[in-house]
């Protein structure tokens, strides 16, 4: 370890112990745990409920946790949560309960973010500087939220306080992974700069709040024969304005507009066997969300919420190659999503009935489909209901169902049932079963792609595939129709049936243990399959509902308030996954692998590794000192090995395949709040400078950062 690192850790530990000597009276009700149980969450039931009374697994990340970790983007804070796995490729996605990023709904203030690439919504798109809390609901939640809420829901709740204040924050980070390559123009170090401004006030009945954030990040060139930096220099701007108007004692109106803009400069040289190619271009992503909410309390018992939402996402990329004239890679993707919905909650003494209905329009224009000017549109009409009932003081039952009618593909019905039982003051149990779905995306419906660079194969979306192939066949350009061609039909949504069961045990006030067992059975997964072969031998692929898989495992969470100042949080996830077709093939003894001599032998069931890119073990640990004015944290993230490629060629991931090594990340931070409103913070991310160029290209090396926040209006 380098001297700077050692010094930093020493300073950190000294500061922590000095600060700890300041004695105060310890009261158990001060514990974060006690506060947390009183915390009100909204995502689990779409109604405000105390976290302690919720029947499904929910995790809340509060503002203080986000600030103390020094997180800037959503990825930074989610990676420190138990059981959430950050995926690489098309940005950083989140894998929840072993399901791909496609199957987790990500919302800001209850409204979904759109603009996914290959199913991934890049978590770096979201700045976390004005977030009050993040609620994570695990298990299918389509009964309330519709498509995408298959593995769970992440709801980012922005700060909604309208007291008079004006804050500004600045953070500078510097990383130097000590490596560089000979190619001129390579970068060995990286910078990360962040500036934010946040203010709010209330004028008469009108609450106003704004948030602005500018972030710059560049990466290092860590591949040989390339000056490309990972990431390429990127500017990210976020602006948000929120208005809140109290029309009357019973009626409230809110309006929010959020604009996020990313700009990536592409300029790099790649050397291939001595021949250098210079690429240059840019990528720009714009995200605009606006929503209006009207809440009216008819009486103590009846409340209705009308929500209107419009969002536009525009991603474009242009890349040119200097040495190859007329070579332009031009990609454009524009998505518009509009939704109107109303939710009415009727409460009795022991029960709450929720009724909701709405209509949504989803539109996409993209160069990835036949024509960027041709707009693809789906319309969705939906209705949902939920009944929450407490027949006895200790028992809560929630039953809900939602129906989504789609113009482009089959309708979806999503039921859910959840139970919560308080055994004693120390023990409570919960169980839930639900169905989640994900609508086929526009890519699966409309893609029209021929890869001329790699042999000329084509992929057609399911809507036009039959038409295109039949036309080619008529022209005599089809050599062979494959068996899967007959399965081409209107795509159905992908479904999952999720079971979650567990409980919370609090043997003493300071200690809380949370256990959750889960199983998700996923049906109808959409996969690209070869459906025909052209006369020139090139393959044609399209999308079919074919795959069935499951994920199952256990989550364990532990929170321990050692004394007034020190706290320990730990999380662990154990995960098993399988493609059911793989299991069938293994059982029928038709899958082989190789022994130490390279000779074939039957693959055994116990050697099967399941779906790729999943770790069996994941662990998070956080030690925290906090005396309200000073704090220090030490966070560790462990992710076990995961399979990355089918090295033995048998088409099934198993223990003889190539795995990425497991790794540990250590992050440190410390800070102090001064009386004059200044807050200073310093930290070090990835202390051990762990890097894996091939499997974790999004993971930067060790970074030191310093931050300051000022209250401009005291």
């Amino acid at each position: 370890m380098k001297p700077t690192v050692v010094l930093f850790i020493a300073a950190f530990l000294t500061a922590s112990s000095v600060l700890a000597q300041e004695k105060r009276i310890y009261r158990p009700e001060d514990t974060t745990r006690a506060k947390e149980l009183n915390e009100v969450v909204v995502t689990a039931t779409r109604t405000e409920r105390k976290l302690a009374n919720v029947a499904v697994p929910v995790r809340v990340i509060d503002q203080r946790t986000i600030q103390q970790a020094g997180s800037l983007r959503l990825r930074d804070i989610l990676q420190e949560q138990a059981g959430l796995y950050m995926t690489n490729g098309f940005g950083t996605g989140v894998q929840m309960q072993g399901l791909n990023p496609d199957y987790t709904l990500i919302m800001v203030d209850g409204e979904p973010l759109v603009g996914r690439t290959a199913g991934v919504l890049d978590l770096n798109r979201v700045a976390v500087g004005n977030i009050r809390k993040i609620e994570i609901v695990k298990g299918p939640s389509s009964s309330l939220y519709g498509s995408e809420a298959m593995a769970g829901v992440i709801n980012i709740i922005t700060d909604n306080s309208f007291k008079k204040r004006l804050n500004t924050g600045f953070r500078y980070g510097f990383g130097n992974p000590d490596e560089g390559w000979a190619l001129p123009g390579s970068r060995k170090s990286f910078d990360n700069i962040d500036f934010s401004l946040q203010g709010s006030t209330t004028i008469h009945k009108l609450g106003i709040q704004f948030f602005s954030d500018a972030n710059y990040l560049d990466g290092v060139s860590f591949r040989p024969f390339s000056t490309e930096r990972v990431p390429q220099p990127i500017w990210r701007l976020t602006n948000q304005l929120q208005l809140n108007y109290r029309i009357s004692q019973r009626t409230k109106a809110g309006f929010s507009i959020r604009h996020a803009y990313d700009h990536i400069k592409q300029e790099f040289a790649v050397s291939n066997n001595g021949a250098v190619t210079n690429s240059y271009g840019r990528e720009a992503n714009k995200d605009l969300n606006s929503n209006g909410v009207l809440v009216h309390q008819f009486s103590d018992k009846i409340k209705t919420t009308l929500r209107l939402y419009a969002t536009a996402y525009n991603g474009s990329q242009v890349l040119k190659f200097k040495e190859i004239p007329d070579s332009v890679y031009d990609d454009e993707f524009r998505q518009h999503f509009y939704r109107a919905e109303d939710q009415t909650d009727i409460s009795w003494e022991k029960a709450t009935l929720t009724l909701g209905a709405g209509y949504a329009i989803d539109q996409v224009n993209s160069t990835r489909y036949d024509d960027v000017n041709s707009r693809k549109q789906n319309t969705i009409g939906f209705g949902f209901t939920q009944y929450e009932w407490s027949p006895a003081e200790k028992l809560t039952v929630i039953a809900g169902i939602r129906y989504d009618d789609n113009k482009l593909f089959a309708a979806a019905v999503s039921p859910k049932l959840a139970l919560r039982y308080t055994v004693s003051k120390k023990l409570s149990l919960r169980a839930s079963a639900g169905r989640g779905f994900k609508a086929p995306d526009f890519r699966q419906l409309y893609l029209n792609f021929t890869n001329n660079a790699a042999g000329g194969y084509s992929v057609f979306g399911s809507i036009d595939a039959v038409k295109i192939i039949d036309e080619l066949n008529r022209l005599g350009q089809i050599a062979e129709i494959k068996e899967d061609y007959s399965k081409l039909k209107q795509l159905a949504p992908e479904y999952s049936t999720g079971l979650n069961a567990g409980g919370t045990y609090t043997p003493v006030e300071q200690l809380s243990i949370n256990v959750n067992l889960f199983r998700n059975d996923i049906e109808n997964l959409i996969d690209a399959r070869e459906v025909a072969v052209r006369s020139n031998g090139t393959q044609i692929f399209s999308y079919i509902n074919v795959k069935n898989a499951y994920t199952e495992g256990a989550e364990l969470e532990l929170q321990w308030q050692w004394n007034k100042y020190f706290r320990v949080n730990g999380g662990y996830q154990f995960l098993y996954t399988a493609d059911k077709a793989d299991l069938k093939r293994i059982r029928s003894k038709s899958v082989f692998t190789r022994d130490e001599n390279g000779y074939s032998r039957l693959l055994e069931r116990r050697e099967y590794s399941g779906l790729p890119n999943r770790s069996r073990h994941m662990l998070n640990l956080k030690l925290c000192y906090d005396d309200q004015s000073s704090f220090a944290t030490f966070r560790a993230i462990y992710r076990g090995k995961w399979v990355v490629s089918d090295a033995d060629g048998n088409g099934v991931y198993n223990s003889h395949d190539e795995f990425a090594s497991g790794f540990v990340l250590f992050n440190l931070s410390a800070g102090r709040q001064f009386k004059n409103g200044i807050r200073l913070q310093a930290g070090m991310d990835n202390v051990l400078n762990y890097r894996d160029i091939n499997n974790l290209p999004n993971l930067p090396g060790r970074m030191f950062w310093l931050g300051a926040q000022f209250k401009l209006i005291p």
């Binding site: 082989f592 692998t593 390279g598 000779y599 074939s600 490629s645 048998n650």
Partner: protein, 219 residues
């Protein structure tokens, strides 16, 4: 001249004799072409099958020649002998030809059997041998279709375990062949190896086979 050679040989003998108790063995080059026989099983290592010589339009290419192999004599056959029945398998890149049909004048044939090499005791009675009919081959080309699987994400090609090539030789006898590896030294490069490595190391066949010389279908 002759004397010099003799004296060198003599020296060599003396040298060898002197070192008898601590035998000098030059380490066998793991990348060299080699045929070894162990009982009924013949092992072939590093048979170069039109290895990469350069890039054309960004795609790696060889010179376009096949490596011909005779399973009866366990020998690599010269290209000049290609128009005869003196070979049984011809390798070029991932293409394997048999000596029949559009590929050669022999009476060859082949099909791919699913199972382990040891478990194939004889050619099954209901077997259908195919011959090459360009552009189709008895040993089907394409990832997952014949003997190999190609991973487009890693650009690596691996023989599918549990695939036995049942071969009718150029003279109508039978052999069973298991392809073990497609890279030099019999080791597939790591997924994270550079494209340069993946390109230069490929197209070297390591395989094993059993040939039944008496003309019966039993191995």
């Amino acid at each position: 001249m002759k004397n010099t050679i003799i004296s060198v040989l003599a020296l060599a003998v003396v040298f060898t004799a002197c070192n008898k108790d601590k035998t000098i063995t030059t380490p066998a080059d793991p990348n060299a072409f080699k045929v070894s026989v162990s009982g009924k099983i013949v092992s072939v290592k590093n048979l170069p099958a039109d290895t990469i010589v350069g890039l054309v339009g960004g795609q790696p290419v060889g010179v376009g020649k096949y490596a011909f192999f005779n399973l009866r004599t366990n020998t690599w056959v010269a290209n000049t002998d290609s128009a005869s029945a003196n070979w049984d398998l011809a390798f070029s890149g991932s293409t394997i030809r048999i000596n029949a049909g559009t590929s050669g004048p022999g009476t060859g044939g082949a099909f791919v059997w699913v199972g382990s090499f040891d478990n194939l005791a004889s050619v099954p009675a209901d077997s259908v041998f195919k011959t090459d009919n360009y552009p189709a081959y008895a040993i089907t080309k394409g990832s997952g279709k014949g003997w190999y699987s190609y991973d487009g994400a890693t650009n690596l090609l691996n023989p599918i375990p549990g695939r036995v090539l049942v071969i009718r030789t150029g003279d109508g006898k039978y052999a069973k062949v298991e392809i073990l590896n497609y890279y030099r030294g019999g080791v597939t490069p790591s997924a994270s190896a550079t494209d340069e490595v993946k390109t230069s190391e490929q197209r070297y066949y390591t395989f094993r086979y059993t040939f039944q010389s008496n003309g019966t279908t039993t191995f």
